[in-house]
């Protein structure tokens, strides 16, 4: 655990893992009867770029992750 200045926050890593899982993995229900989110890959790519922003990660840490862990929403 050497690079203190470069070290990614745990919250950011967890968020990256969350996005990787719920957008890209999980059971895919296929068939004519399924309506999926359009252009997921494109939006997902955009989201990954978005997640690379440290400022946004900090914002998320403060406003979303804590709320989720505390069960506030």
């Amino acid at each position: 655990m050497t690079f203190e200045n470069e070290k990614l926050s745990n919250e950011k890593i967890t968020l990256l893992d969350l996005v990787d899982r719920i957008l890209d993995k999980g059971v895919i229900l296929k068939g004519d009867i399924t309506i999926s989110v359009a252009d997921v890959d494109l939006i997902y790519l955009g989201l990954k770029v978005f997640l690379a922003s440290v400022d946004k990660a900090e914002e998320l840490r403060e406003h979303q992750w804590e709320k989720m862990k505390q069960g506030d929403y």
């Binding site: 070290k7 890593i13 967890t14 990256l16 893992d17 957008l23 059971v27 989110v37 989201l47 929403y73």
Partner: protein, 236 residues
């Protein structure tokens, strides 16, 4: 007709005939739509698509985890919307045995995520004409040493973690965040502490890397159905 936003598929303790409201998370009323001894856990919605925003992602995960607290689940990919309850029942019927088998396989198991990062290297190049060849040769040797060291890191990490896992996989990558190893492991719930201890030991052995462990997660990476659904002859 109301559409259904899908969160997860789960086992039922006993067969249910009707759709039931199971719990609420704020304005989200989660219902179970049963077929024999399994059910799709979802929510009635009017929209045909869901915006991929942070709040929606967290809400999705929160609801999936709440279902997972009570029973084994197959988490459904974010943004899956089905036309109506009949469409849900059709899917549950078509894939019934596959869902049941997979749920049984994943009972009392959890997924953990392991990531390894490398630090940014400062650009210390001071290339001059007189030493460039010498540097190239030196760099090749250094790179070879680094590659061997990294390969050792990957193989040791994966092999040690596999010993206490049921399944595991990793991808090797490098992006602007310096992620070099991205692994997912399916383990018995009872092995979480042992898994953490193994990660700590590897971390001590390779102090120049940053290790991260996330989870427990619902088994997103291990719920893929291996076989095709049973179809009646002449059926679609």
């Amino acid at each position: 007709m109301k559409k259904i936003y899908a969160y997860a598929i789960c086992n039922l303790k006993e067969e249910q005939g009707k759709t039931k409201t199971v719990f609420k998370v704020n304005q989200h009323k989660i219902i179970s739509i049963p077929f024999k001894k399994i059910a799709l856990m979802g929510e009635n919605i009017e929209k045909s698509n869901i915006e991929i925003g942070i709040e929606n992602l967290f809400t999705h995960e929160k609801i999936v985890e709440k279902i997972w607290e009570k029973t084994s689940i197959l988490p459904v990919q974010f943004g899956t919307i089905l036309k109506n309850k009949k469409a849900v029942k059709n899917i549950l019927q078509e894939y019934y045995s596959q869902f049941r088998n997979k749920l049984q396989e994943l009972a009392n198991k959890t997924e953990l995520g392991v990531k390894i990062f490398i630090p940014k290297k400062e650009n210390t190049n001071t290339n001059t004409t007189h030493n460039i060849f010498e540097k190239k040769s030196k760099n090749n040797e250094e790179n070879k040493g680094t590659e061997n060291h990294t390969y050792s890191l990957f193989s040791q990490t994966h092999n040690k973690l596999l010993k206490i896992s049921i399944k595991g996989k990793y991808t090797v990558d490098q992006d602007e965040e310096h992620l070099i190893y991205d692994g997912s492991y399916l383990i018995p719930e009872a092995n979480i502490t042992s898994f953490k201890e193994v990660i700590k030991k590897i971390d001590t052995k390779f102090p120049e890397f940053q290790f991260s462990l996330t989870g427990p997660w619902p088994p997103y990476n291990f719920c893929k159905l291996e076989s095709k659904p049973f179809r009646k002859k002449g059926g679609g």
